[in-house]
Symmetry: C2
Subunit: 161 residues, 2 copies
DNA sequence: TAAACTTAGTTTACATGGAAACTATTTCCA
DNA sequence: TGGAAATAGTTTCCATGTAAACTAAGTTTA
């Protein structure tokens, strides 16, 4: 039901036209909004997996780098050690990952995918790639490439990598 | 739970050269890394303010839009209502913001900066703008502009706004 | 006008993620 | 050799942020 807007006696405006000033050009603000948007899309696209972005990324990376130390994986994904412990706990409980303490350095923990984990990643590879495609949304192919390239440069991740 | 393998694992590499596969081109991953980096820089640049990014942004926006409803400010910054309540609580306790319940709609809460809050924002305006400049780091002026422009487009925030 | 509905914000209960302290192991070096 | 330092991961504790339930107020409609 659309109401005809009869202006009431608000001396102070409160439509949604908020003035952002410099904030509208703030990299931090814009990146945060983008982050929120992408995560929301991830949760829709990957809903059936019941996984969070960090968990899926971890499975992905462990699949490509089996037997690496937990801490190495954590650093590569910018996940803090304390958090990684819990995240891996969940993935172990889910049956996707196994921990092995190697005898030559019993401080460390090496992680790899279980058979189940490998199957899981295989079965969701396409879904994950498609999610990345649908992420593009408002950008043309060229703009998307440019965007990715600038992000890498900003993050000090050479486009070579 | 944790297995001890006698089989040698030292054949498995564990330098920091992790293979990212498709993840290295993942918008979500790259945006998250950028976010972490920018927040870290914010906390260094704005350390003396003792404020978090969301709190500073809120002060900034309230300064530009005094007397707007708390919910309007929350929506504009993508902050959830429940969180906004606590965030504004903190800013009220700090003496920067005041709440007013207008008689014509006593459900709503209109917020504005106190004198102290106005002074605070004035005193830190330059610092905030400079932070945005230092954010650029690895990007040329042109690349930075392009980056901002692509972020806006991605976020559906027309460059008009 | 009264009941149903909608809107605004707060409270509650919980999950996430991080810092600091801790345990266990390995390396360094006097 | 043995004590100090370094390294790897875990545990504990806390702050942050969210969903869902809730309170209060305003609007619609029969």
């Amino acid at each position: 039901m659309i109401k005809e807007k009869t202006e009431t006696l608000h001396t102070i405006p409160d439509n949604e036209s908020v003035d952002f000033g410099e904030l509208k050009n703030s990299l931090g603000f814009l990146v945060r909004i983008a982050q929120v948007k992408i995560f929301k899309e991830f949760y829709i696209a990957m809903a059936d997996t019941k996984l969070k972005p960090g968990e899926f990324s971890t499975l992905w990376i462990v699949g490509l780098n089996p037997g690496y130390r937990q801490g190495t994986i954590a650093r590569s994904l910018n996940i803090k050690p304390a958090h990684m412990t819990k995240l891996v706990d969940r993935l172990v409980r889910a049956g996707y990952i196994e921990r092995v303490v190697p005898p030559n350095d019993r401080r460390s923990v090496r992680i790899s995918l279980t058979i189940e984990g490998q199957e899981f990643v295989n079965d969701h590879r396409a879904q994950f790639i498609n999610f990345h495609i649908s992420e593009r949304e408002n950008l043309s192919d060229d703009e998307y490439k440019q965007f990715i390239s600038l992000l890498k440069k900003f993050n000090n991740l050479g486009s070579a990598q």
